[in-house]
């Protein structure tokens, strides 16, 4: 589903990604962990070209993102993204948030978009909030709407950038629950997270990122119990 080859990314002369290589298979759930500032968000954002790629190749669903002929808007319809700060559209109701992109990009009818939107809101447990505005919702509810909004495009792949980091602790669980469900249904997911419990339980593979490279990647069992690198060990000692 994703192939990354020697990905480099610089902001000015600050090289943030220093040669990333990895693969993500269909239906795989990969969690990315690592210290703050190590380039996790930047890496994730390169996967849907929210950041342009300095050098290297990123191939998503068979399309090379560096290729000038690749239609980036088309790729993005296949790649859902969930942000730390939710980024819901505050001037639109919950259901309008979910319906907008399918209507304008997929050009489906209002009727169909509404049905799809209502089904997704039900799935994330927010059917009764359809006509409220984001500001009227709790953080956990907003993030679940954001997940529904991304799913409304029927993506093949979902990217999550610390989806629970902005939430009060008691609201984290409801969001992780939705993500677990999604993983169970076979969605391909790349999740940047500090929720080690989630990574351990749900991930097929965990990548440890440090200073712009993937230091180590393995099954959660190995990463969390017997990591190869000293760096990984130190990091896990600090966060666990």
């Amino acid at each position: 589903m994703i192939t990354v080859q020697d990905l480099h990314k610089s902001f000015g002369d600050n090289e943030v990604l220093k040669g990333i290589n990895c693969e993500v298979e269909e239906k795989e759930v990969v969690c990315v962990i690592g210290p703050s500032g190590s380039g996790k968000s930047t890496f994730l954002r390169c996967l849907n070209l929210l950041e342009d790629i300095t050098s290297g190749n990123v191939i998503v669903d068979g399309y090379n993102l560096k290729d000038k002929t690749t239609d980036i808007n088309m790729i993005r319809t296949e790649v859902g993204m969930v942000f730390q700060q939710f980024n819901l559209f505050p001037h639109k109701t919950v259901i309008e948030n979910v319906m907008l992109a399918p209507r304008k990009v997929r050009k489906i009818s209002v009727q169909e978009a509404r049905e799809r939107g209502e089904a997704l809101l039900k799935k994330v447990g927010l059917a009764e909030k359809a006509d409220q505005y984001p500001a009227q919702l709790s953080g956990g509810q907003q993030q679940r709407v954001a997940i529904a909004r991304a799913l409304a495009m029927e993506p093949k792949l979902m990217l999550f950038d610390e989806p629970t980091s902005a939430l009060d602790p008691e609201l984290v669980g409801e969001v992780l629950e939705v993500m677990k469900q999604l993983a169970k249904e076979g969605m391909t997911m790349v999740v940047v997270t500090h929720e080690m419990g989630f990574a351990r339980e749900v991930a097929d593979r965990v990548m440890f990122m440090d200073e712009g490279i993937i230091m180590e990647e393995d099954t959660p069992e190995i990463i969390f119990t017997n990591p190869a690198s000293e760096r990984t060990k130190n990091f896990l000692n600090k966060v666990l």
Binding site: R76, N87, Y133
Partner: protein
């Protein structure tokens, strides 16, 4: 002592002035809004050429008094171009160009003030840049523009009173004409001031209403 009753005799003439004041304000601000939208986008454009043109326009207009702009346009430009504009046309052009520069800054500031996560959320859903601007950024920016736009509209309406110096037959021009012929400065200028106050206060109420309607 003061005879405000006599003002009634001059109402038709003041009404004519009011008509031109409103005409120039409305047409001038409509064009100003379009100029402001275009050059405001220029100010946030990645296109260097468009950005520089927009910046020069904004800086030149903000850096010179509206009175000087009016006089220059009406008395100096015709000498350069060998072509004299009608004073009402010149008045509209002055209000349009002047308000356009300030509105451009309002547009730029409002669009800039929308969290960049909004653009990213739109783009990550597959909306193109144009669609994201249209459905996500503009509606939010527009709401933030209303209070400063209202301010600018009021300033521009008051600026039209300066157009009497280029012989635009607007409200202030008529007031001066009447007062200097009939020696009733107190009655006439008070009435003129009230006219401006009524226009601007009505506009304030209208904008407040619109803002409330756009609440979410």
């Amino acid at each position: 002592m003061f005879d405000f009753g006599q003002v009634i005799d001059f109402l038709p003439q003041l009404g004519k002035g009011l008509y031109y004041t409103l005409l120039i304000s409305i047409v001038g601000l409509l064009i100003g809004f379009i100029l402001g939208a275009i050059f405001g986008l220029g100010r946030i454009s990645k296109n260097k050429f468009f950005f520089i043109i927009a910046s020069i326009y904004v800086e030149v207009i903000r850096g010179t008094p509206v009175l000087v702009q009016a006089i220059w346009l009406y008395f100096a430009l015709p000498i350069i171009l060998q072509f004299q504009m009608a004073s009402i046309t010149a008045g509209i052009v002055v209000i349009a160009i002047n308000s356009g520069a300030y509105i451009a800054e309002i547009v730029r500031g409002s669009v800039d003030s929308i969290n960049k996560g909004q653009m990213e959320a739109g783009r990550s859903l597959g909306l193109n840049k144009h669609q994201t601007m249209r459905y996500i950024i503009w509606p939010q920016a527009f709401k933030r523009m209303i209070p400063p736009l209202g301010n600018q509209f009021i300033i521009s309406i008051k600026d039209t009173s300066l157009l009497s110096v280029i012989l635009v037959p607007e409200l202030m021009f008529q007031g001066r004409y009447i007062a200097s012929n009939h020696f009733n400065a107190v009655e006439i200028y008070t009435t003129v001031a009230l006219f401006y106050l009524v226009i601007n206060f009505s506009l304030s109420l209208l904008l407040r209403y619109i803002e409330r309607r756009l609440n979410y």
